[in-house]
C-alpha cells in the first residue's frame, strides 16, 4: 500500500497540494502547514493526484512510500 508522507518542517504553506487534491490534503488554520487527510490513496486516480502533488510541492515536503 502506498502512503503519502508529509514533512511539515519543510512545508511552506503554499497550498499547492490542496489545489491538487482537496480530499487528500488540507492546511492547518494557524500556520498553513499541510495536513494529510487521506494518507493512503484509495485508487489509481488518487495515487496519480498524490504523485502530482509531490511533484508540484515547492518545498519538496511530500513523498510517497511504497
Amino acid at each position: 500500500m502506498t502512503k503519502i508522507l508529509a514533512d511539515t518542517s519543510r512545508c511552506v504553506g503554499a497550498g499547492q497540494c490542496v489545489l491538487t487534491d482537496p480530499d487528500a490534503f488540507d492546511q492547518d488554520e494557524d500556520e498553513g502547514l499541510v495536513i494529510v487527510l487521506a494518507p493512503e490513496p484509495s485508487d489509481e486516480a488518487a495515487l496519480e493526484r498524490a504523485r502530482r502533488a509531490a511533484l508540484i510541492c515547492p518545498s519538496q515536503a511530500l513523498s510517497l512510500a511504497e
Partner: protein, 394 residues
C-alpha cells in the same frame, strides 16, 4: 571576453525575447552582463530553475553585492532591512510561518463572495460610464488593490497615493533617488498606520501581526511587501489575461462554454507570461554545480522564467497558449521556500475576474490594436499601463 548583455525587454508582448530562448537551449547556463555592468549566470531551463530555488546554498539576500539587479545603478546595500522575500534560512521559515496561515486555500476561498461583489461593482461602474474606457483604471488595478487593502486593514481611500509610489518604484527608468523617496513615503505612511492599529486594534491582518513583532519596523517591511506585491502583480495579470483571451476568441468561447476550465486558464496565463520572472534571481553563497555550470561563491544567478516556463523538456508546445493545458508545475509563482505567499489569493481574484467579465460583457473588445498597447517593457514586473476597451450597449 565580456559576457553578452542580457536582453531585458520583450520584443513580442506574448513571448520571451529570442535571446532568452537561445540561452535556454545552450548546453549549460552561461554568463550574461546585467544592466549595471555586473555579470550573472543566466538560468533558463525549468529543471535548473527548480534546482536553484530549492538549494539553500543560494541566497535571496538582495543586499549581497553579487545579487543580479535590472537597474543601471545598484541600490545602496543596507538601505532596507531584511523582509520575508529577502531572508534566508534560518530566519525565513519562522517569518513565513508567522503569516502564511492568513493565506491558506481555505482562508482565500472564504473571501470569494466579497471579491465577487467587488468585481461586480466595478463592472457595474464600467458599464455605467462612457465607452471606450481604460480597463486598467476601471478594473485591473482597483480590484486587487481593494482586496489587499481590506485584508491588511489599509484605508482604500489612500490608494492613489501608494499606487503612484509603487508605479514609480517598479519602473526601471525611475532615478534611484526618486525610487528611494517613493519607498520612504509608503514606509512612513505604513509606520503611522501601524501606530494607529496599536492604539485601536481592528479585525485585520496587520493588527493580528502586531504581537508577533518585537521591532515594529520589521512589520512595516512586511506590510510594504504585501501591499505592493498584493496589487501590482495581479493587476498586470488581469490586463494581460483580457488581451490574450480577446486575441484567442476560440479559447474564450471554450471558457465561456465550460466555466470549470477557468482555473486551468488562469494557470496557463500565469505560465504564458511569467510576469515576475526576474524576482526569482539568487546569489551563490558557496561554489555550486548547477545544470552543468560551476557557479562560484558570490556569483549572481538571473532566472529567465518566461523561457523556462516554455522549456520543451517540461511543456509540450510551450509557446502555444492553451487554456486546457492545466499545468501547475510552472514557476510563475517561483519555487522552493519563497514560492509566492499570495498565490492562492491571486488565483482566486483572476478566476473571478475572467469568469465574470466576459459573461457580463460578451461584446467586450479592445479599442486599440494589440501592437499599440503600452506594454510594461521598462518595469520589474511585466504588464500593461493602459488598456482601452469598448463594448456594445447590452
Amino acid at each position: 571576453m565580456t559576457a553578452p548583455q542580457l536582453q531585458t525587454t520583450r520584443s513580442c508582448p506574448f513571448a520571451p525575447p529570442p535571446e532568452h530562448v537561445q540561452l535556454r537551449d545552450l548546453e549549460a547556463p552561461t554568463k550574461v552582463t546585467m544592466p549595471d555592468g555586473q555579470e550573472a549566470w543566466a538560468v533558463a531551463r525549468l529543471e535548473d530553475v527548480r534546482a536553484l530555488l530549492t538549494d539553500p546554498r543560494f541566497s535571496s539576500d538582495r543586499s549581497r553585492p553579487g545579487f543580479p539587479v535590472l537597474v543601471k545603478q545598484r541600490p545602496k546595500p543596507g538601505m532596507f532591512r531584511p523582509v520575508l522575500l529577502t531572508m534566508d534560512p534560518p530566519e525565513h521559515g519562522p517569518a513565513r510561518r508567522a503569516v502564511v496561515g492568513e493565506f491558506t486555500v481555505r482562508r482565500m476561498e472564504a473571501l470569494r463572495p466579497r471579491i465577487q461583489q467587488i468585481v461586480d461593482e466595478h463592472i457595474d461602474a464600467l458599464l455605467a460610464g462612457p465607452a471606450p474606457a481604460d480597463l486598467v483604471q476601471a478594473l485591473s488595478l482597483p480590484v486587487p488593490s481593494l482586496v489587499i487593502c481590506e485584508m491588511l486593514g489599509v484605508p482604500y481611500a489612500d490608494h492613489d497615493f501608494f499606487q503612484n509610489c509603487s508605479t514609480q518604484m517598479l519602473r526601471r527608468t525611475t532615478p534611484p533617488e526618486q525610487r528611494a523617496k517613493a519607498a520612504d513615503e509608503i514606509r512612513s505612511y505604513l509606520r503611522d498606520l501601524l501606530a494607529q492599529k496599536r492604539a485601536h486594534p481592528a479585525d485585520d491582518l496587520l493588527t493580528r501581526q502586531l504581537p508577533r513583532y518585537d521591532d515594529p519596523e520589521d512589520l512595516v517591511g512586511l506590510a510594504f511587501l504585501l501591499l505592493i506585491a498584493g496589487h501590482e502583480t495581479t493587476a498586470n495579470m488581469i490586463s494581460l489575461g483580457v488581451v490574450t483571451l480577446l486575441d484567442h476568441p476560440d479559447q474564450l468561447a471554450a471558457l465561456l462554454a465550460h466555466p470549470a476550465l477557468t482555473p486551468a486558464a488562469v494557470e496557463e496565463l500565469l505560465r504564458y507570461f511569467t510576469i515576475a520572472e526576474f524576482a526569482t534571481s539568487r546569489v551563490a553563497k558557496e561554489d555550486v554545480e548547477l545544470g552543468g555550470a560551476l557557479i562560484k561563491a558570490g556569483d549572481g544567478v538571473v532566472t529567465l522564467g518566461n523561457a523556462a516556463n516554455r522549456d520543451p523538456a517540461a511543456f509540450a508546445r510551450g509557446d502555444e497558449f492553451d487554456v486546457e493545458r492545466g499545468a501547475r508545475h510552472h514557476i510563475a509563482f517561483g519555487f522552493g521556500p519563497h514560492q509566492c505567499l499570495g498565490q492562492n489569493l491571486a488565483r482566486l481574484e483572476l478566476q473571478i475576474v475572467f469568469d465574470t467579465l466576459f459573461r457580463r460583457i460578451p461584446s467586450l473588445r479592445l479599442a486599440a490594436g494589440v501592437d499599440d498597447l503600452p506594454f510594461k517593457d521598462d518595469a520589474s514586473i511585466y504588464g500593461i499601463y493602459e488598456l482601452p476597451v469598448t463594448w456594445s450597449a447590452p
